[in-house]
Amino acid sequence: MTQQGGPVLEVAGVTKEFSLRQTVGERLSRSEPTVHRAVDDVSFTLQPGEILGLAGGSGSGKTTLARCLIRLVEPDTGTVRLGGADMLAASGAELRELRRRMQMVFQDPYASLNPRMTVGQAILEAGRVHRRPGSEDGERFVAGVLERVHLSPSFADRRPRDLSGGQRQRVAVARALAVDPEVLIADEAVSALDVSVQAQLLKLFVDLRDQLGVAIIFVAHQLAVIAEVADRVAVMHEGRIVELGETATVFGAPRDAYTKALLAAHPRPNPRTKQEVRT
């Protein structure tokens, strides 16, 4: 599938603009609609088995970028190549297959699972839609997928309402893994969880990378969370990637002013390391 040694995902020049709603006066005067460039000429590559953190404040464009990659939002220009295949030119069965190879986990595990389906049904549906090998034997397939996220097979019969937030998020990850993706996009996947549960989920993402070799784009507004898991980090501000590099390098010696401000404002649990306020 992927050329040996090459990146699993190549993103080049991706741009997405939204036109803002006009006021009555603007519409009467037939002025040009104001355009908000949510994602502005973004390029990066992702290696197999790599975790790339995508950081930035709210409105920086990180979620829009993540959505552009699997075409939940159609980018205006640019290219997205998954294992060499052009994601933006694909349609029909080809696009479906590409989307299988790049899966997304969302922030809110309460909204991303169907409340009327059991955990087993949700996982099996994903596997059967994409005709995954082994999905003929439902019970074994589900048990195998649950094991990857460290849940016991007994969870198959439970419904989302019986699960805690952390367990729901594991199920959401399991559902994404059920179709053997090469790339996993986790959009604020641990942001809604308590820290004690968050720590377990972060470990799970690192385990998935190590054991399955899946590459992960880890979107988070919390820099410390990215510090815990990411090999490289891209910092976004006003739609652009303002800094990209090894996590330790970027966090240890940030070069961009916005990255510096984000790091300085980060609340430190050690009361003797005070945050700085920059305006």
């Binding site: 404040g57 709210s58 805690s164 937030g165 308590d194 820290v195 004690s196 549960v197 968050q198 720590a199 377990q200 972060l202 470990k203 690192v206 190590d210 507004h221 919390q222 820099l223 410390a224 969370v225 510090a227 815990e228 898991v229 990411a230 090894e246 996590t247 330790a248 390098t249 970027v250 966090f251 240890g252 401000a261 984000l262 790091l263 300085a264 404002a265 980060h266 609340p267 430190r268 649990p269 050690n270 009361p271 003797r272 005070k274 945050q275 700085e276 306020v277 920059r278 305006t279």
Partner: protein
């Protein structure tokens, strides 16, 4: 400023229950907490630990069918739970201010910022319209909102999240309260905005000499602004002490596990196989789950059989530090590395 000696706020042995008289479901159990005048006290804990309910009980804002089923709350020597409706109104209007997590739903979307401030000032401080108007501009200026005269005419949706939270702080401190209760005030904001709002809260404390009770799930936020902290778990306060002492040398296994779960920037580039953050196995107790002994015992690595029998009480473990752990496994140990 205080008319009596003793703490400004004293929560003693407070329990908050849901459900009916015969089968009460206790969400907060025998919580005691004191806030001195001008002090910033943090209440930290994970979701469902009872921290929000505890601070809401101070304003008597626990929603039905929840109720304070036991204990007493004293503000400056006055019994809050015994206040008549008129006294309670005056107490909420003048003595205590409160800000919430969501600055998006705390303001009325169909009224201008200025009208909401003026309404509050006229009702709470009995100002006349013109006076209230200039006072409102002054309040906005005090919370760092540029061009306050123009901002008075803005609707809430025209302001950013940080600006809205500043307006909320202006509203809550309009009558110069002696205590501000801030329930997750920065959780919905970006880190850069968060730092500004926390800075503003500390400035307001300096200027007005008010005490702050700050609720947060984020120990980082607590560490940055609080003098003292109380750690809540499963409806109980499991440990209290100075922020520095708790960070260096937590004396309750839950506090230690919580601190060790907090992600840190310093983790960048660390060998992942080396020491992954363990998190805390298991799950917190559910509402209505009756545990006779320590609430944390089922998840605790240091638990002994007696832990499930001995009722929880805070025991002094150092100067101004108290822990509810009967085992005290860290008592003779060194501070955290």
């Amino acid at each position: 400023m205080s008319t009596t000696v003793g703490p400004l706020l004293s929560i003693a042995d407070v329990s908050i229950a849901f459900g009916n008289e015969h089968e009460p479901l206790c969400a907060v159990r025998s919580v005691s907490l004191e806030v001195e005048a001008g002090e910033v006290v943090g209440l930290v804990g994970e979701s469902g630990s009872g921290k929000s309910l505890t601070c809401r009980s101070v304003m008597r804002l626990v929603a039905q069918p929840g109720r304070v089923s036991n204990g007493s709350i004293q503000f400056d020597g006055r019994d809050v739970l015994a206040m008549s409706p008129a006294e309670l109104r005056a107490f909420r209007a003048g003595d205590v201010g409160m800000i919430y997590q969501d600055p998006f739903s705390s303001l009325n979307p169909v009224y201008r910022i200025g009208d909401q401030l003026v309404e509050t000032l006229r009702a709470n401080r009995g100002l006349r319209k013109a006076e209230a108007r200039s006072e409102a501009a002054m309040l906005l200026e005090r919370v760092g909102i540029p061009d306050p005269q123009r901002r008075l005419l803005s609707y809430p949706h025209e302001l950013s999240g940080g600006m809205r939270q500043r307006v909320m702080i202006a509203l809550a401190t309009a009558s110069r309260p002696r205590l501000l209760i801030a329930d997750e005030p920065t959780t919905a904001l970006d880190v850069t905005t968060q730092a500004q709002i926390l800075e503003l809260l500390l400035e307001m404390r300096e200027q007005l000499g008010m005490a702050i009770l700050l609720v947060s799930h984020d120990f980082g936020v607590i560490a940055q602004v609080c003098d003292r902290v109380a750690v809540m778990y499963g409806g109980h306060i499991v440990e209290t002490g100075a922020v520095g002492a708790i960070y260096d040398n937590p004396q309750h296994p839950y506090t230690r596990a919580l601190l060790e779960s907090v992600p840190e920037l310093e983790a960048a580039g660390r060998d992942r196989s080396e020491q992954p953050r363990p998190g805390i196995p298991g799950r917190p107790p559910e509402l209505g789950e009756e545990l006779p002994g320590c609430v944390f015992a089922p998840r605790c690595g240091y638990a002994r059989p007696t832990c499930r029998e001995v009722p929880m009480t805070l025991v002094p473990v150092g100067p101004a530090q108290a822990s509810a752990c009967p085992v005290q496994p860290f008592r003779q140990q060194e501070a955290r590395a």
